[in-house]
């Protein structure tokens, strides 16, 4: 038996090298499972490990590879991919000049209607002064917390009879249920996860989107997580938490290493789901992904990661700044791959579009 245990420990080490989550309790279960068979054969080891070390269908293929590699010396464990050098080359989307027709005669209109015009202007076409103005508009934006029903109940004035409290009260009135108590589902704010693409093709919009994320963080406090993606996934929840928008933006600029680089959306969503999918961050959250869907790698990975995300999240809202362009079609390969898993695709090219986004988030 001792040899068997040693053999299994060796096998489990290989399994870990292949990325299977073989914790001590699972190993113990495997030994116990193997013990149920009359003999120790490769076949029995295979089955004992398969039902105890695997936790999902994806694990099964990996498990087969581990088994072949360990007992029949088939393959080496996969090397972790070499760190890629970050390309600083912006993918360069020219701002679309054809969309600025509505700024004619700006000087004549009142300040109020100037703001109104500004709200609808494409952010990528603004000059520095207008940009500041729009940044202020975004920071002042109001967001409604999406709520979800919690499993717990709270006392209420109508709803379901709260039998427990009613009974307790009745006991004190000698069994006479004089006072009826009611209960209703408690509401909890839903977790909001915002992922902002800061790659080159999004350069014109990422500042506005991050400011939106900042506004959300300030309104909804601890129920918001913010990430940036580009060539690397960065969690910026802490950096963006400063109450002043400009200080927050500066702090974000300091922690994000991959401004205006390329996009490896698929790989980064994978990292997001791998790292945060297990806890409560993504589960039943409203996930907002702000990206144009330009993907440097093949879009298959992005599609499969979106599928995983969809299984975890309550709602996925995709913000594509280019959607504001009349005649826009989601043709970018990454967009195509993601679209089946997106609940809502909204524009994010102007302050007005971002206000609409706030509404969509609040609608739940």
């Amino acid at each position: 038996m001792r040899d068997v245990v040693e053999a299994i420990v060796g096998f489990v080490e290989t399994a870990r090298a292949f990325g299977l989550d073989a914790g001590p309790d699972r190993v113990q279960a495997m030994v116990c499972a193997l013990d149920q068979f009359e003999s120790v054969s490769y076949r029995n080891i295979y089955w004992a490990g398969r039902v105890t070390l695997c936790g999902s269908r994806d694990d099964l293929d990996r498990y087969d590879a581990v088994f072949d590699a360990h007992f029949f010396g088939a393959a080496e464990p996969p090397e972790p991919p070499p760190p890629r050098t970050i390309s600083r080359r912006a993918l360069g989307m020219e701002p679309d000049g054809g969309r600025s027709g509505d700024d004619d005669g700006n000087a004549k209109v009142s300040a109020a209607s100037r703001l109104e015009v500004l709200r609808r202007r494409d952010i990528s076409t603004l000059d520095a002064a207008d940009r500041d103005e729009v940044a202020r508009l975004i920071s002042a934006m109001d967001l409604h917390v999406p709520m979800r029903r919690s499993r717990r109940h709270r006392p209420a004035v109508h709803g379901l009879i709260d039998a427990e409290r009613t009974t307790r009260a009745a006991v004190r009135c000698a069994g006479e249920p004089i006072e009826l108590h009611w209960r209703a589902r408690r509401l909890k704010p839903r977790q909001l996860v915002i992922v902002v693409d800061v790659s080159g093709s999004m350069a014109a919009f990422s500042d506005a989107l991050l400011r939106f994320a900042h506004a959300a963080t300030r309104r909804l406090a601890r129920r918001v997580e913010v990430f940036t993606v580009g060539t690397k996934l960065t969690r910026i929840t802490a950096a963006i938490s400063s109450p002043d928008p400009d200080t927050a933006m500066a702090a974000v600029a300091a922690v994000v290493p991959d401004w205006s680089g390329g996009t490896r959306l698929g790989e980064e969503l994978k990292e997001l789901v791998d790292r945060f999918g297990r806890g409560t961050t993504l589960r039943r959250a409203t996930v907002v992904i702000a990206s144009d869907g330009w993907e440097r790698d093949a879009p298959d990975l992005l599609g499969s990661q979106m599928a995983r995300l969809r299984r975890l999240a309550h709602r996925i809202i995709w913000v594509n700044p280019h959607k504001g362009v009349p005649g826009y079609e989601p043709l970018a390969a990454g967009m195509q791959a993601s679209l089946p898993y997106v609940h809502e695709l909204v524009a994010g090219h102007s302050a007005a579009a971002l206000e609409n986004l706030a509404d969509v988030i609040g609608r739940d």
């Binding site: 116990c32 004992a48 039902v51 009745a170």
Partner: protein
């Protein structure tokens, strides 16, 4: 067989399940064998209609144990799944005690939390019934908070009722948990279970299952349906048909008095196989003659 741990080997289990109308392959039988021997819950994932629920039913018959089923749904809570207090009875008790002259409310309240006022919901019922098979069906439909309640039940086979105490199973029930994987179930839950992914059956097995479940179907029809179902699974349908659909389909065809699948009867009964509007749309354009021929090559 009455004690689950009495099962001798996976092969013996295949034969036993077979005699109760369930045709298991080696993989499923081995997972099942280990779950019975180790008294661990069996976590079954797989596409809808591959026979996950059916397995629990067959196991219950095999063990001559009642099948206690908990169908999960959003909002499912302790009061529906584990236990609930019988409030009307508690009130009656209070009134009766009062009529008998009881005066001490504290003592009265203490009496209220007695086992006889506890209504057993499926999980508690399963813990108190020996032997029993507890089927927790489609756990992915329940809220993820609900999984937390299962952790205690599945690892120790106990339920803690705050007002009452700990209720322990004398012999752990056989537990089968199924998931259609509409969302990922927490790791903490999975690691208390033995995991198995249920595949669609092979052609021969599917033919055997259809013939077993629809004895009136001809061998030819069963082979045609199995072949067509296997071919349909390779097309890009939103919901590819499972064995359950093949069996339903065969039943529909048998009701129409069909002996072998042809394009006309396939079209007439397609509602038994595909159940999404988009899929029906897609299937409408399928060249049935071609698909049936492909299916027959499958079997050849």
């Amino acid at each position: 067989m009455t004690d689950p741990a009495d099962v001798a080997s996976p092969q013996a289990l295949i034969a036993d399940l077979d005699s109760h109308g369930y045709l298991a392959d080696e993989a499923l039988a081995t997972a099942c064998f280990l779950a019975l021997r180790m008294r661990r819950p069996l976590f079954l994932e797989g596409d809808a209609g591959v026979g996950k629920t059916e397995l629990a039913r067959a196991l219950a018959e095999l063990l001559s144990a009642p099948l206690i089923r908990l169908q999960c749904y959003e909002g499912l809570g302790v009061a529906q799944a584990l236990y609930d207090w019988d409030f009307p009875r508690q009130l009656l008790h209070v009134r009766a005690a009062e009529a008998a002259g009881a005066r001490d409310p504290e003592q009265l309240e203490g009496h209220l939390y007695d086992r006889r006022f506890l209504v057993a919901r499926p999980i508690l019922r399963a813990l108190e019934t020996t032997p029993s098979v507890l089927l927790i069906d489609e756990i992915d439909r329940a809220d993820d908070e609900f999984e937390a309640f299962l952790l205690e039940v599945l690892s120790d086979f106990t339920i803690t009722v705050p007002e009452f105490g700990v209720i322990r199973a004398r012999t752990p029930p056989v537990v089968v948990i199924t998931s259609n994987r509409s969302r990922d179930v927490h790791d903490a839950l999975k690691r208390r279970c033995l995991y198995h992914w249920v595949e669609h059956p092979t052609f021969d097995r599917e033919v055997a299952i259809i013939r077993r479940r629809q004895p009136l179907a001809s061998e030819r029809l069963a082979r045609d349906v199995a072949g067509a179902a296997q071919a349909l699974r390779t097309t890009d349908l939103i919901k590819p048909p499972g064995v359950a659909e093949s069996v339903d389909w065969t039943e529909a065809l048998v009701s129409l008095g069909v002996d072998e699948l042809d394009p006309q009867s396939a079209n007439a009964t397609i509602g038994a196989v595909v159940k999404h509007r988009e899929d029906v749309e897609q299937v409408r354009h399928i060249d049935w003659a071609e698909l049936i021929a492909t299916g027959r090559r499958h079997g050849a």
